[in-house]
């Protein structure tokens, strides 16, 4: 029972903490972010298993986490609002060429991130070649270029 409670608590805590940290926090992983993720993983592992390193305990923890993921996936399908709460919604950052700075400030995204996404995904050279820039639920930035006439 203790293992199940530990796994459930850690699952919900991580869900909450990554929701608080915002969309962009882990979508663009730098070397330091990767190291940070490994440290978080290590801390989580110790809290999950406690001092019980048995295979049975590991199996219980893994099963609980997978079951919770399955249950939340089902619930998100049943209630789209829950899906929005847990996964957020896409957000337009450049609307038909118009830069929406207020939204970018809230999401802590600068123009460099948008032009970088434009370069990487479409080979665009300038900001005025972008028609739409959308911050997706995953935290990635998708770019829709202007049609060249």
């Amino acid at each position: 029972m203790e293992s199940i409670l530990r796994a459930a608590f850690i699952y919900l805590f991580l869900l909450l903490i990554f929701r608080i940290s915002g969309k962009r926090s882990l979508s663009h992983v730098t070397t330091f972010d990767l190291v940070l993720l490994l440290i978080i993983g290590e801390s989580t592992q110790q809290a999950l298993v406690g001092q019980d390193y048995s295979i049975v305990n590991a199996s219980i923890v893994i099963s609980t986490l997978i079951l919770l993921e399955f249950v939340f996936t089902k619930l998100k399908c049943a209630w789209p609002f829950l899906d929005n709460v847990l996964e957020s919604l896409p957000l337009v950052l450049i609307d038909d060429g118009r830069i929406l700075e207020d939204r970018m400030r809230h999401e802590e995204i600068d123009l460099d991130a948008i032009t970088a996404a434009a370069r990487e995904n479409h080979g665009l050279e300038r900001l005025d070649q972008i028609k739409y820039a959308v911050l997706e639920r995953s935290g990635g930035i998708s770019i829709i270029p202007r049609q060249s006439s």
Partner: protein, 175 residues
């Protein structure tokens, strides 16, 4: 449900987005308080957690007694409880320290320094006996290293033959 934004079809809800930003702002403030509270010892090991209880001693043996302990503990993490007497009642006689049974059952006693000559347990209490002067430390401090086994509130009542009243304290064990 996909909605259109000009010729772009996507699900965007600015009202929801504003609520999300508000939630994130509040969440980050709560997170900051959480870390500050942890640093101060609200979850164990810090100035807010360290505590001391003093008790008067019996009339026939003046002097103070005190317990130094941690208010906030974590399950399975060892903690130290120091019981300090200004003087022992009669070092040539047996000295008895008594813990309430509920507390005794809620912790695992990893170490007692110095070791008592014997321990007895009944339905209400656990008693630690120190038979002779040689068994008692010169600085009159008994140290218990305890490992909490249950989470929640943990009331401790300590009685000793030189105390006029029992020492009462509360600890809280986090899961």
């Amino acid at each position: 449900m996909p909605t259109s934004k000009g010729d772009l079809q996507l699900q965007q809800d600015l009202k929801f987005q504003n609520q999300e930003w508000l939630f994130q702002r509040i969440g980050r403030i709560v997170l900051t308080f959480f870390v500050v509270a942890a640093a101060l010892g609200l979850f164990g090991s810090g100035p807010l957690s360290r505590a001391r209880v003093d008790a008067p001693t019996a009339e026939d043996n003046p002097g103070a007694a005190s317990v130094e302990y941690e208010r906030f503990l974590r399950i399975s993490v060892p903690t130290r409880l120091s019981l300090r007497f200004s003087q022992f009642r009669a070092p040539e006689k047996e000295t008895v320290i008594e813990f309430n049974r509920e507390y005794y059952d809620s912790v695992f006693i990893r170490q007692i320094s110095p070791q008592p000559s014997r321990v007895t347990i009944d339905q209400k209490s656990a008693r630690f006996y120190y038979a002779a002067r040689a068994e008692l430390p010169a600085d009159r401090v008994l140290i218990f290293v305890l490992v909490p086994r249950k989470f929640g509130s943990l009331p401790l009542r300590i009685r000793a033959d030189q105390l006029s009243t029992s020492l009462r304290l509360f600890q809280f064990v986090y899961f």
